[in-house]
C-alpha cells in the first residue's frame, strides 16, 4: 500500500493498480466511457482525465488519463482542477457534436451512461452549428436493435464482442469521424453473448429488441433479485415487470457466478412468460374438457380425490427447492420421485457422491477463469452451459496477462496485453465429437466419439497417476496425446476438468472425476466443473427423490399422482409416458405453462414462473441462491410451494401449514440439515432498514400515482409481499441494501448499470457485503483419492452404424426458452450433424432430409455436415420441441429419405 493524494486528501492505494479503478472504488466520481471493469483500459475516450502534479511545488500539473495510469507512491492528483474539468466537458462536447438529441424516444433514456456522464461533466451548451453525421442502421437479428447515430465510438462493443466473447461478426468499419460499428452486412449476430452489448454499450446504439416490443422505462419497472432458470449455472438476473407483463431480463452482478455477463438464452428466454399458453386459471377436468374453477372448489375436489389411496409425487429440476420439498412433505419421502430419466438420475447420484465423498475442488464460475489448464471432456459447453464457456474463454486472457507481465505490462492494460500475446492460445484442450466454439481458443482440440472420449479420459487418469485404474486396448496414436495432456495437467497449478449433461453419458462424469482424482495431491486439488441440465437439478438431487424410471418400467403405480412443474415427455419416451399416465385415477398438475403433460391432468393449478415466485435454486456447483418475485402475478397464479402448503392444510386438515417463505424454509431445514444455509441466503421478510422495506422500483419523480393514472387517479394500496422484506413500489429503502436484495442499480448521478460500481467492495470485485448465495455442499477434506472403476467400453460399431450423440443448442434445447419468440427465431431446424464422408456414403447432401434409425424408431432430420468432426458419429439436436429424442446417446443408422 502506498499513499496518494487526491484533491488534497490522503488515500492508501495498492501500487500499480489502475488509478481510475482505484478512484471509482473509493467512491470518487470520475466520468468514463471506454473503461470496463471486466475488460480493462484502452485509453480511447479520454473522458477520465485528471490532473497529475510532479510534486507539491508543481502548480500547473499535467492532464493524464486515469484509466491508463498506474498508482504510484506519493502521486498527487486532482479531479476537481478547473482546467481538467473543462477538458472533460470538452470531451462530452465533442461527442455531442454528432450524438442525436433523441433521448425522449431512445430506449436507453433514463439509464444511459452517456446522459449521466454529460450531466456529470457539466457540458450544457452546444457551440457546434453544423450538421450531424448519420448512418444507416442494420438488422442484427431478433435480440439486438441497432441505432448507429447514437454511437460515441467508445469501442466497448467490439472489444466485448470480439475480444472478450470471441465473436467474429461485429466489427468497426471506416475511419475518422465516420467509424461504424456493425456487421459486414445485415444479419443476426452470431455470438451467444450478444445481449451483453445492451449493457456494455454506454448509450442507445445496441438496445434490447425484445424490450422494444413492450417498452417500458427503467423507473416504471418492478424488479427483484432473481436467478436464471434456463440452465444449471445459476446466473443472477433482474427481471423487470410492468402491468403484469415481464418486460426484460438484466444481468445481476455476482462476483462468484456470472459477473457482468449473461448468455442470450438467459437474457432473451423470458418471453414465454407472456405467452397465451401460460396456465393462469385453476382447472378441473369434466370429461374430456379442462374447465375453469375456483380455489375453494378445487381444494375440495382434490381432497375428495386424494384422501383415498396412495399418492405419488413427481418433483422437478426446474422447480424451487421449496416447491420440491413441499411436495416431498405432502406425499412422504418414500413416494417422492425426482421426475428425471433413469440416466439423468444416475448421473445426478454419481455427481453428488463425488461432491460428498471425493476430495475434489468444485470451482465457482469466476474461479474457472483462473484455471491454468483446462480440459473440456466430451462437452459442447457453449451450448450446454453457455455462460461457463465465456468464463473458460477468459483463461486465455489470464495466460496473456501472465505472459505480458514479463515485459511489465499491467494486467489491466487490455490492448497492450493482447498485442503482446497476439494470437496465443488458451491453456486448454477440448475433446469433443464435433467442432465447438471453444476450439478457437483451445491450444489443442481432439475429435473423438463420446465413447472413445470416455476411454481416453480413463486412460488419461491412469497416465497421470498409476493408482488410477488402467485401460487396455486403445489406438496407439493416442499415446502421444495422452502424454502431452498428462504433462500439461500435471504442470498446472490450477488444473480444471470440465464436462456436463450434454453428452448424456454417465461414464463421462466418472472419467472426468478420475482425472481430477489422479491430479490431486498435497499441494493441489484439481477442479471439476460438471454442468447439470436444469436450474435446480442440484436442489432436486439433494432431496434424494426416488428414481422414477424404476416404476415406469414395472408399472407398479398407486392411484394418485401429483406432478410439480414437470413435463415427463422431456424425460421419458412418449409410449412409456403415455402408459404411465394412464395408470392413474387422479392426476394433479401444478405448472405455469401448458405442456404435453397438461393433457393428462385431472386438476391443474397455476404456478408462478421464476419471476413471479420466491424460492431457492441450487446451481450445479452446489450454490444455493434465492430469487424473489419481481411482481405478484394475477390471482390465482402463485408459488408452487404455497399451493402445496394449502393442499396439505386442506387434505390433512392440520392447518398451520406455512404462509410465507420463511415459514416454509423453517420446516425444510428441520427435515433436511443440508439445506441449513438456505435460511441464511437473505434477510427474513421482517427485515427493515430504517424501518423501511427495500424498494423494488427506483425512485420516480412523478410518484407512483401516475403509474395507473390511465385507469384510476386514486392511489391504490400497493400489494404486500409476505416472503421478502421488499415493497412492490418505489417507496422504501433506496440506498444500498444487502446484496441479496439488490434489484436495481441506482446512485445519485448514476442512473445506468454503471452505478454498480457503488455496490461493490472495489470496482469489479465482490459486492459490498459479500456476494449472495451460499454453497450447501463443500468438498470433503478427506484427502484419499477414490476412483471409479473402468466401465465396459462399447465395442466397435458395426459397419454403417453410428454413435448418435446429443447436440445441445443454446437456442432450442431449453424447455421454456424455446417457447420465447426471439429465441425461436434464432433456433435452427432440428438437424443431424455428420461428417461429409458419412454423408457421401449415404448419398446425403447438406440440407437433405435424413432418416435416423435406432432402438426400433426413426426420426426425420435435416442434414448438416462438419468436415472436422469424428466420422463415426452423428450428432442430433437434443431437447428440441419438434423432435424430442430422450434416449440419446444411442447407436443407430442413417439413410436418405427417398423423394416421393
Amino acid at each position: 500500500m502506498v499513499n496518494i493524494y487526491i484533491d488534497g486528501i490522503k488515500y492508501q492505494a495498492e501500487e500499480g493498480k489502475n488509478l481510475l479503478d482505484y478512484c471509482l472504488s473509493v467512491g470518487l466520481d470520475i466520468p468514463y466511457f471506454c473503461f470496463h471493469p471486466a475488460m480493462g483500459s484502452v485509453g480511447a475516450c479520454r473522458l477520465c482525465a485528471v490532473k497529475m502534479y510532479k510534486d507539491e511545488n508543481d502548480t500547473r500539473g499535467k492532464i493524464i488519463m486515469s484509466c491508463v495510469q498506474p498508482v504510484q507512491d506519493g502521486m498527487i492528483i486532482s479531479i476537481e482542477d478547473p482546467e481538467v474539468k473543462h477538458f472533460r466537458a470538452q470531451v462530452i462536447e465533442s461527442l455531442m457534436n454528432n450524438h442525436p438529441h433523441d433521448c425522449p424516444i431512445c430506449d436507453e433514456g433514463g439509464e444511459c451512461h452517456l446522459q449521466d456522464m454529460t450531466v456529470m461533466t457539466g457540458h450544457v451548451y452546444r457551440r457546434n452549428r453544423f450538421k450531424k453525421r448519420t448512418y444507416r442502421n442494420q438488422y442484427l437479428g431478433p435480440f439486438i436493435n441497432h441505432e448507429m447515430n447514437r454511437c460515441i465510438q467508445c469501442y466497448r462493443c467490439t472489444r466485448f464482442y470480439r475480444e472478450y466473447a470471441g465473436g467474429y461478426d461485429l466489427d468497426v468499419f471506416g475511419i475518422h469521424s465516420r467509424v461504424f460499428f456493425g456487421r459486414h452486412q445485415d444479419g443476426m449476430l452470431e455470438n451467444e453473448f450478444s445481449g451483453n452489448l445492451v449493457e456494455v454499450c454506454p448509450t442507445g446504439v445496441f438496445t434490447d429488441k425484445t424490450l422494444k416490443k413492450h417498452y417500458t422505462r427503467k423507473w416504471d419497472l418492478s424488479t427483484a433479485p432473481s436467478i436464471c432458470e434456463h440452465c444449471s449455472l445459476g446466473c443472477n438476473t433482474i427481471p423487470g415487470e410492468r402491468y403484469g407483463k415481464l418486460r426484460r431480463i438484466r444481468n445481476r452482478y455476482n462476483y462468484d457466478v456470472n459477473g457482468y455477463f449473461l448468455c442470450d438464452r438467459g437474457r432473451f428466454g423470458y418471453e414465454y412468460v407472456n405467452r397465451e399458453t401460460r396456465i393462469k386459471k385453476i382447472k378441473a377436468r369434466f370429461g374430456a374438457e379442462l374447465q375453469d374453477t375456483t380455489e375453494d372448489e378445487i381444494l375440495d375436489k382434490i381432497t375428495n380425490a386424494f384422501e383415498k389411496g396412495k399418492t405419488l409425487g413427481i418433483g422437478s429440476a426446474r422447480a424451487s427447492v421449496e416447491a420440491n420439498y413441499a411436495l416431498n412433505k405432502l406425499v412422504g419421502a418414500e413416494n417422492f420421485y425426482a421426475g428425471i430419466s433413469g440416466k439423468d438420475h444416475q448421473i445426478l447420484r454419481n455427481y453428488l457422491d463425488i461432491l460428498r465423498n471425493y476430495p475434489v475442488n468444485v470451482p465457482s464460475m469466476k474461479e474457472t477463469e483462473e484455471a491454468d489448464y483446462v480440459l473440456v471432456l466430451g462437452e459442447d459447453i457453449t451450448h450446454s452451459a453457455p455462460r461457463l464457456a465465456l468464463s473458460l474463454r477468459q483463461t486465455l486472457m489470464k495466460k496473456a496477462m501472465d505472459e505480458a507481465a514479463r515485459v511489465s505490462i499491467p494486467r489491466w492494460l487490455d490492448h497492450a496485453v493482447r498485442e503482446f500475446y497476439q494470437d496465443g492460445k488458451a491453456p486448454m484442450t477440448t475433446i469433443t465429437p464435433y467442432n465447438t466454439k471453444l476450439d478457437d481458443v483451445a491450444s489443442k482440440s481432439l475429435r473423438l466419439n463420446p465413447h472413445d472420449t470416455v476411454k481416453f479420459g480413463f486412460l488419461l487418469a491412469n497416465r497421470i497417476n498409476n493408482d488410477a485404474p488402467a485401460v487396455k486396448d486403445y489406438p496407439g496414436e493416442w499415446d502421444e496425446w495422452l502424454d502431452q495432456l498428462a504433462k500439461a495437467l500435471i504442470n498446472a497449478k490450477k488444473p480444471l476438468i470440465v464436462s456436463g449433461w450434454g453428452n448424456g453419458l454417465e461414464e463421462m462424469l466418472k472419467a472426468a472425476a478420475n482425472i481430477t482424482q489422479a491430479l490431486n495431491g498435497e499441494e493441489r486439488k484439481a477442479g471439476l466443473f460438471y454442468a447439470l441440465p436444469e436450474a435446480n437439478s442440484m436442489g432436486l438431487g439433494l432431496l434424494e427423490g426416488n428414481d422414477l424410471s424404476g416404476i415406469m418400467e414395472t408399472g407398479d403405480a398407486p392411484e394418485n399422482l401429483i406432478i410439480l412443474e414437470n413435463d415427463l415427455y422431456r424425460h421419458f419416451d412418449k409410449v412409456q409416458a403415455d402408459k404411465f399416465f394412464n395408470q392413474f385415477k387422479n392426476i394433479l398438475l401444478i405448472d405455469h405453462t401448458e405442456t404435453n403433460t397438461t393433457d393428462h391432468a385431472s386438476f391443474v393449478l397455476p404456478s408462478g414462473v421464476t419471476a413471479e415466485s420466491s424460492g431457492t435454486f441450487i446451481n450445479t456447483e452446489g450454490r444455493a441462491q434465492r430469487f424473489y418475485k419481481a411482481y405478484i402475478p394475477e390471482a390465482p397464479v402463485m408459488d408452487s410451494w404455497r399451493w402445496l402448503g394449502r393442499i396439505e392444510n386442506h387434505l390433512k386438515k392440520t392447518g398451520g401449514q406455512w404462509n410465507s417463505l420463511d415459514e416454509c424454509l423453517a420446516e425444510l431445514v428441520k427435515g433436511y440439515t443440508v439445506f441449513k444455509p438456505l435460511t441464511e441466503l437473505a434477510p427474513p421478510s421482517g427485515f427493515r432498514i430504517n424501518g423501511e422495506k427495500v424498494a423494488r422500483a427506483p425512485h420516480r419523480y412523478t410518484g407512483r400515482t401516475s403509474m395507473h393514472a390511465h385507469k384510476n387517479v386514486h392511489e391504490q394500496k400497493p400489494p404486500q409481499d409476505e416472503d421478502a422484506p421488499m415493497s412492490f413500489t418505489m417507496e422504501g429503502y433506496n440506498g444500498t441494501p444487502p446484496s441479496s436484495l439488490v434489484s436495481h442499480y441506482w446512485k445519485p448521478g448514476w442512473n445506468s448499470v454503471q452505478a454498480l460500481n457503488k455496490y461493490q467492495q472495489e470496482v469489479g470485485g465482490p459486492m459490498h457485503d459479500g456476494d449472495p448465495g451460499k454453497r450447501v455442499i463443500e468438498p470433503t477434506d478427506n484427502p484419499k483419492q477414490q476412483y471409479f472403476k473402468v466401465p465396459v467400453f462399447e465395442t466397435k460399431t458395426e459397419a454403417g452404424e453410428l454413435y448418435l450423440t446429443p447436440v445441445p443448442h443454446i437456442f432450442g434445447s431449453g424447455e421454456m426458452s424455446s417457447l420465447s419468440a426471439a429465441i425461436r427465431e434464432a433456433t435452427p431446424e432440428p438437424y443431424v450433424l455428420i461428417h461429409p464422408n458419412v454423408a457421401g456414403q449415404n448419398d446425403l447432401n447438406e440440407d437433405d432430409v435424413a432418416i435416423v434409425r435406432a432402438n426400433g424408431k426413426e426420426w426425420k432430420l435435416k442434414v448438416k455436415t462438419d468436415d472436422k468432426m469424428a466420422d463415426d458419429v452423428a450428432g442430433i439436436t437434443t431437447g428440441f420441441r419438434q423432435s424430442y429424442i430422450v434416449e440419446l446417446p444411442l447407436k443407430g443408422n442413417i439413410e436418405k429419405q427417398e423423394k416421393k
Partner: protein, 428 residues
C-alpha cells in the same frame, strides 16, 4: 561539402544499382561491421554520433536502440521496420532516397538490424511510391544474391531477411505503433505506450521502427565514425539533412545540406527565393503538423533543438511556404480537411474535434464565420494539446492552426467581421 545521403546519386534520376553503389564505397560499412564489431558498440557509435530521428520527432536513434533487450533472454525474433510511409503533406525526401539510392537504405537496415540483433526487417512503404517499390525490390534481390541479405551474411553468422510491405495508405501509418498494427493486418490505430515497441512491438516482439532517412545515415556513421558524422552539421546535432521547399518559390525541390542550415539559406539560395510578385509570409518547417515560422525566424538554424526553441518543430525538414496571395485561413482549413480525413477515429478529441475545427474554418472561408468561432478554434487548440490525445496526431494537427492564429490572427478575425474571405472575395 560531403553528402553521405545523396552524394552518389546519379544526375539522371535513375537507380543506383549494386555495382555502382559498391563502386562509390557502398557496403563498405557492412563489411567493416557485421561480425566484426559487437552489436552493442554499433549502438554506442550511433549514440555518440547524436543522430536524431529524421521522421519528425527527432528522438536520439542510438538511445532508441539502447532500449531493445539484448542477450540470450531477449524475446526473438526481433524486428527492424523502416518507416517509408512518407505521407506528411509537403514531404518528399524519403522518396528521393528510395528511388535513386535504394542500396543505401538496405545497407543502413543491415547495420541497424545488426545493432539490435533483429533477424527480420520490413520496409513499410507508402502504396503510391510505386517506383520506390520497384527499385527497392530490385535492390533487395541484388543484395540477397550478393550475400548481403539472407542467412549467415558475409559468413558472420548474422541473418537478416528483408521484406517490403506496401501500405494500403493512411497518414496514420506514419505513427510507429499504428504502422505495426497495419503491418500485422489490423486497423491502423496507434497502440498505447508503454510498452514501447522495443519491448512489445511487431507481433508482440522487440521492434525498432526508424525513418528511411535515419537509417540511411547509419552507413556513413559506421564507416567514418561518430565524430565525422557530427562534423557534417552546423550544430551539435550530427549529420546532414534533406531539406525541401514547396510553395510559390522559384525553385522548389529537396537538397542535402548540413543540419542547422538557416531557413534563409534554404529558401533564398536553394529554392531561389519567392516567385516574382509573391511575398513570403511564413512557412511550416517540417510538413503539415508543425508550427509556422515567419520572417523573424529567417535566420533560425533548422535543427531539432533550435526550431523547438522558437516554438515550432523541425519535423521532416521540408518547408511548406505560405505567401501573401494565399489565404492563411484557407491554407489551414485545407490542412484540417486532410487531418480530419486521416484521423484514425480511435480517440475522441481527434476524431470529433478536428472535424469541428475544419467546419468552422470552412465556414469562415465561405464568409459564414460567426462571433465565437475564434473561441471554438482556440479552445480546440488547447483541447488537443500534447498529452490530451491518444497519440501525437491531433496535437500535430493543431500546430499550424495555433501558430497561424498567432501570426495571422488579424486575417482570421477579418474573415468573421467582413463576412468574406479577402483573398477569394466571396461572402455576401
Amino acid at each position: 561539402m560531403e553528402k553521405p545521403l545523396t552524394g552518389h546519386i546519379k544526375d539522371d534520376g535513375s537507380q543506383l544499382e549494386l555495382k555502382g553503389y559498391e563502386k562509390e564505397g557502398g557496403y563498405r560499412a557492412v563489411k567493416k561491421v557485421i561480425g566484426k564489431i559487437d552489436p552493442e558498440n554499433v549502438t554506442a557509435t550511433v549514440k555518440d554520433s547524436n543522430l536524431k530521428g529524421r521522421g519528425g520527432a527527432g528522438f536520439g536513434t542510438g538511445m532508441k536502440w539502447g532500449f531493445v533487450p539484448m542477450g540470450e533472454d531477449a524475446i526473438t525474433p526481433k524486428y527492424l521496420v523502416a518507416n517509408a510511409d512518407e505521407m506528411e503533406p509537403g514531404t518528399f525526401k524519403d522518396r528521393l532516397l528510395m528511388e535513386e539510392n535504394p542500396h543505401l537504405l538496405i545497407e543502413g537496415m543491415i547495420l541497424s538490424a545488426y545493432a539490435i540483433q533483429a533477424s527480420i526487417g520490413f520496409i513499410f512503404i507508402r502504396g503510391a511510391y510505386v517506383k520506390s517499390v520497384d527499385r527497392l525490390e530490385k535492390a533487395i534481390h541484388e543484395a540477397r544474391e550478393k550475400g548481403y541479405l539472407g542467412k549467415n551474411i558475409l559468413k558472420s553468422g548474422f541473418d537478416l531477411d528483408l521484406y517490403i510491405h506496401i501500405s494500403v495508405g493512411r497518414y496514420m501509418c506514419g505513427e510507429e505503433t499504428a504502422l505495426l498494427n497495419a503491418l500485422e493486418g489490423r486497423r491502423a490505430t496507434p497502440r498505447f505506450k508503454p510498452p514501447y515497441p522495443q519491448a512489445s512491438g511487431l507481433f508482440g516482439n522487440p521492434t525498432i521502427v526508424n525513418n528511411v532517412e535515419t537509417l540511411c545515415c547509419v552507413p556513413y556513421i559506421m564507416e567514418h565514425g561518430a565524430e565525422a558524422f557530427k562534423n557534417l552539421s552546423y550544430t551539435d546535432e550530427g549529420g546532414t539533412k534533406l531539406y525541401g521547399v514547396s510553395g510559390n518559390v522559384k525553385n522548389p525541390g529537396t537538397w542535402e545540406l548540413p543540419l542547422g542550415t538557416t531557413m534563409r539559406e534554404v529558401i533564398e539560395e536553394h529554392a531561389g527565393g519567392m516567385m516574382n510578385g509573391y511575398t513570403f509570409r511564413g512557412a511550416l518547417p517540417g510538413g503539415a503538423s508543425t508550427d509556422f515560422l515567419v520572417n523573424d525566424h529567417m535566420d533560425v538554424k533548422l535543427d531539432f533543438s533550435t526550431v523547438m526553441n522558437v516554438g515550432s518543430r523541425l519535423g521532416t525538414g521540408t518547408l511548406v511556404v505560405l505567401d501573401d496571395k494565399t489565404c492563411p485561413v484557407g491554407f489551414v482549413a485545407n490542412l484540417m480537411r486532410f487531418f480530419g480525413r486521416e484521423s484514425c477515429g480511435w480517440c475522441t478529441p481527434c476524431r470529433d474535434g478536428i472535424p469541428f475545427v475544419q467546419k468552422t474554418l470552412e465556414a469562415m472561408e465561405a464568409g459564414k464565420g460567426k462571433e465565437g468561432d475564434m473561441d471554438v478554434l482556440e479552445s480546440h487548440v488547447e483541447f488537443m494539446g500534447p498529452g490530451n490525445t491518444f497519440c501525437a496526431f491531433a496535437p500535430g494537427a493543431m500546430e499550424p492552426l495555433q501558430s497561424a492564429m498567432k501570426y495571422f490572427g488579424k486575417d482570421f478575425k477579418q474573415h468573421i467581421t467582413d463576412k468574406k474571405c479577402a483573398w477569394k472575395g466571396n461572402g455576401k
